[in-house]
C-alpha cells in the first residue's frame, strides 16, 4: 500500500514537520512571560555556572575556556537532545500513528527539527560570550555550515534508528541516555583536550565519535578548521548508519504500528 511519494506530497509532509516542530517549541515556553528567552536564559545560566566552577578548577584562562565551554555545551545539548528524543519519537506519537497513515519518517524529522529550533535558541549565547571575551569570528566559521548539514544527516539516522528499536524494546531509551551521559564525560566539553596527557588524549579523542561530531561545528565557530579525520569519521558513520537504518526500516516498517 506504499505508493511512491510524489513531489507535492513531499512538500506537504515537510510543511507538516515544520508545523509540528514549531508547535512543540511553542509548547515549551507557553505560559511564561519571557517566552522564547526562557530557553536561552536557562542555557546561559548553566554555562556561566559551569564556566565559573570548572574554569577555576582547571585554572584555564577564561577567554579561552568560556567560548569553548559555551560552544561545547550548546552543541552537546543539541546532539543528545536529538538522539534522546528521537528514541521516543514513535512512542510519543502513538495516537497519531494508530489513526492517521502519515509516513513514519515525519515523526522522526519532527523531533530533529524541534531540536534544531532549540539549538537556534541556544546558539545566540555564543556570539555574546565571544564578544564579552573579546574574541572575533573569522570567515572559517562558515565551515560550520557544511558541518551542520553533515551532523544533522548523522543525527537523523540515529534518531530514526533508535525510534524503531526503542518502539520494540521499551527499556532501550534509558540505556541510550546512560551511554550519552558517559559520552559527556569522555568528550571534551567541560574539559579542554590540551589538559589531557598526550597518549591518553589520542585514545580518548580519536576513537570518540562524539568528539568528531562536536569538532565539525565547534572548531570552525571558535576559529579553526576541523581536522580531515573528523569529516571522514562523521561522513562514514552517516553513510553506514543510513544504510543500516534503511535496511532495518524496510524490514520492519509494517510492524511498527503493531508494536505501539
Amino acid at each position: 500500500m506504499v505508493l511512491p511519494i510524489k513531489l507535492n506530497k513531499l512538500f506537504h509532509l515537510l510543511g507538516l514537520i515544520v508545523t509540528l516542530g514549531w508547535h512543540d517549541i511553542r509548547g515549551r515556553y507557553r505560559r511564561s512571560v519571557i517566552g522564547p528567552f526562557w530557553l536561552t536564559i536557562s542555557m546561559g545560566v548553566i554555562i556561566a555556572c559551569i564556566g565559573l566552577v570548572f574554569g577555576g578548577i582547571f585554572n584555564t584562562p577564561m577567554d579561552e575556556y568560556l567560548p569553548f565551554l559555551a560552544a561545547g555545551i550548546i552543541l552537546w545539548t543539541f546532539v543528545t537532545g536529538a538522539i534522546n528524543e528521537g528514541c521516543t519519537s514513535f512512542v510519543s506519537a502513538e495516537g497519531v500513528i494508530k489513526q492517521l497513515p502519515i509516513p513514519l519518517f515525519v515523526h522522526v524529522l519532527r523531533v530533529v527539527w524541534r531540536n534544531i529550533l532549540m539549538l537556534a535558541h541556544h546558539i545566540v549565547i555564543l556570539p555574546l560570550v565571544l564578544l564579552v571575551m573579546g574574541k572575533s569570528v573569522s570567515l572559517i566559521a562558515l565551515l560550520a555550515i557544511p558541518g551542520f548539514v553533515l551532523v544533522v544527516l548523522c543525527l537523523s539516522w540515529l534518531a530514526f534508528f533508535f525510534a524503531i528499536v526503542c518502539t520494540r524494546y521499551r527499556d532501550l531509551p534509558q540505556i541510550v541516555a546512560s551511554v550519552l551521559q558517559v559520552g559527556f564525560y569522555f568528550t571534551p566539553i567541560i574539559w579542554m583536550p590540551a589538559l589531557l596527557p598526550e597518549r591518553l588524549g589520542a585514545a580518548i579523542l580519536d576513537w570518540n565519535p562524539f568528539y568528531h561530531v562536536l569538532e565539525l561545528l565547534r572548531a570552525p565557530l571558535l576559529g579553526s578548521a576541523p581536522g580531515i579525520t573528523s569529516w571522514l569519521v562523521v561522513g562514514a558513520i552517516t553513510i553506514l548508519g543510513w544504510g543500516l537504518t534503511l535496511l532495518l526500516f524496510a524490514h520492519v516498517k509494517h510492524r511498527i504500528a503493531y508494536w505501539l
Binding site: 507557553r30 500513528i97 494508530k98
Partner: protein
Amino acid sequence: MALIQFIQAGVEIPIFNAYSRSLKSKLIHIATAGKLSAHASGHVIVRALHGLDFSFADGDRVGLIGHNGAGKSTLLRVLSGVYAPTQGQAVRQGSLSSLIDVSLGIDLESTGRENIYLRGALLGLSKNEINARLDEIIAFSELGDFIDMPVRTYSSGMNLRLAFSVSTVIQPEILLMDEWLSVGDEGFKHKAEARLAELVESTKILVIASHSRDLILKTCNRVLWLEHGMIKMDGAPDEVCAAYFG
C-alpha cells in the same frame, strides 16, 4: 475512481508484556540460552482478522457490524492504511479521511486557532488551504472569541465542536467512521448533522462501523458482518441486519 480491495487479507497482532518489551530480558535470555528465564516468553499473537476477501467500489456505503472484539476497529485501521495486513493484500485507491477520532491531535494548551492549523496539517491540508478556510471553520464552530483561548478552557462540547469543524472540511473519496458523530447542543447538532450528511453524500466510498440497526439501515447499501475476525455475512442491509440483530 475510488477502490478498496482485500485479497485474503489477515492481521495478526503481537501482544507484548513488560518482559518481551525489554531488551535486557531479551539479552539475558540469549546469553543463558533461555535456561534462566522463568517467564513465559510473552509472545502472544492475536489473530484479529483472517482471510478477508472483498472489494468496495464507488457508491458503496458499507456498514460494519459485529460484537465487541470481532475486528471492526482493526479492519478500520487496515482500511485507513495504519495497519498493513500481515497476510494477503489490501489495495486502496483514492484519498482517504477518517472521522474515527476527531479530537486526535488537539492540544489543550494551544488556542483553538492554533489547533485548527495543527489538526489541519495532520489531516493533510497545507497552510494556505487552512488559511483559505479558516474563517469558515471558525464560523462553523460557533466559538466566537473563544477561538483565541487555550482549548483547556473549553467545555467538552466546545472542544468537540472545534474538532468536528476542522475534521469535516476535507472532502475525501473514502470516508471511515466509527459510529455516527453526534456533536453539541440542539442547535449545533442539526447543523453538524447536515454537514455530515453532505460529506457522506459526496464521498465515493463510506465505511462505517456501528452497533445501531437504524443507522445501518438508513445509511448503508451493503453490510459486512464480522465474527472472530472473519466475514460471517456480506450482503444487503435488510438481509444481514435481520440475521445479526434477529
